[in-house]
Symmetry: C2
Subunit: 212 residues, 2 copies
């Protein structure tokens, strides 16, 4: 009648498999990873995997689902805040808490790449990637639109074009850095250059002056 194995134990193990499987999928790609790989990484038996997931595809989908939920939370958090200046918020979205270009990249970028790759030959996975992508885009667009509304940013370029330019830039940087890692400093250099460009396109200096 009553459960003989605690719910906590099940959830913990499921999460454990999910995390291990995620690493394997990232490492090897969907097609190449076998359930044997996942099994070894998670430290369970082959049969055990099927206790928690219907099959390989179901396991993969669970990973995507989890990632999407996290992305929604992250983005929601940023948009909630009420601010008087959008430039710092934009910088924060692009470069993280430090709010200025360093050798790290927007965490959304590698994930965009990942989903683009895995989704390239599979409609369902492509759809997940698209959702995430649009989610990221939306945050930038709203930030810029808000900045333009209050007069902080120039309206020379529409918010959609600016948002896509930013995401394009970040994704391109992540892609090229993945292809040719070389020195970390290169990422920072290119980012600094891009910030100059953003300031120009949004006329941030002028905008800030106007506000004062």
């Amino acid at each position: 009648m009553s459960p003989k194995v605690s719910k906590e134990h099940m959830e913990k193990r499921r999460a454990n498999i999910l995390e291990a499987a995620k690493q394997v999928f990232i490492e090897m790609g969907y097609e190449r990873t076998t359930m044997k790989h996942v099994m070894e990484a998670a430290g369970v038996s082959r049969g055990g995997l099927y206790q928690y997931f219907l099959n390989k595809e179901d396991l993969y989908e669970a990973i995507l689902e989890e990632g999407l939920e996290k992305a929604v939370d992250d983005n929601g958090l940023l948009l909630e805040k009420e601010v008087d200046s959008y430039w710092p918020l934009l910088m924060k979205r692009m470069f993280g808490e430090s709010m200025e270009p360093d050798d790290r990249l927007d965490p959304l970028a590698p994930s965009n790449l990942e989903f683009f790759i895995t989704g390239r030959h599979d409609e369902r996975r492509r759809q997940y990637g698209l959702n995430r992508y649009q989610l990221g885009l939306q945050v930038y667009e709203e930030l810029i639109k808000a900045g333009q509304e209050c007069g902080e940013f120039s309206k020379t370029y529409d918010s959609k074009t600016m948002a896509r330019s930013i995401v394009s830039f970040i994704d391109g940087l992540a892609l090229d850095h993945a292809i040719l890692p070389e020195e970390e400093i290169q990422v920072k250099k290119q980012s600094l250059l891009f910030v100059e460009y953003l300031k120009m396109a949004l006329e941030v200096e002028r905008g800030n002056r106007l506000k004062k």
Copy 2:
């Protein structure tokens, strides 16, 4: 003693298989394509494929090899030319013969993406992609360096950073357009914005004025 099948016939058939296989690999990705797919696309029997290629990997490598040779030729062609102004040449490299942003992209970009994807989990294929990438980078770097030497471009940013920024931008645009195609016009808009950015970073207007 003498060959009973003409060399031309063999070469033609080999090229035929190569072209068909290339399409299949692009369409399906390396892991998913089977020799059966290739066989059907090329219109030969399974056994026939092994007359020309040792195995699937060998077939794939032959396609890469061919692509690399073509890329070397294309880039070599551009660098050979003697010019008095590097800006038009830079535009030409970025946007093709039209020399100004339209909805088309540098043909190198999709190929960069392709090799990044296929090479992501395979060292040998990754190396091919890297070679191509560096080849593209080299052309931009030499163009900008030459332009800087003759005073047409500003030396504010080093040629390497500028070259990588350009390739980053193009690849990012290609990637994002691949993820979210939407209207073609968006590509043009973002490209125009990027050209403004390039003019700023290279101080092209000023440079041109100085030359006159």
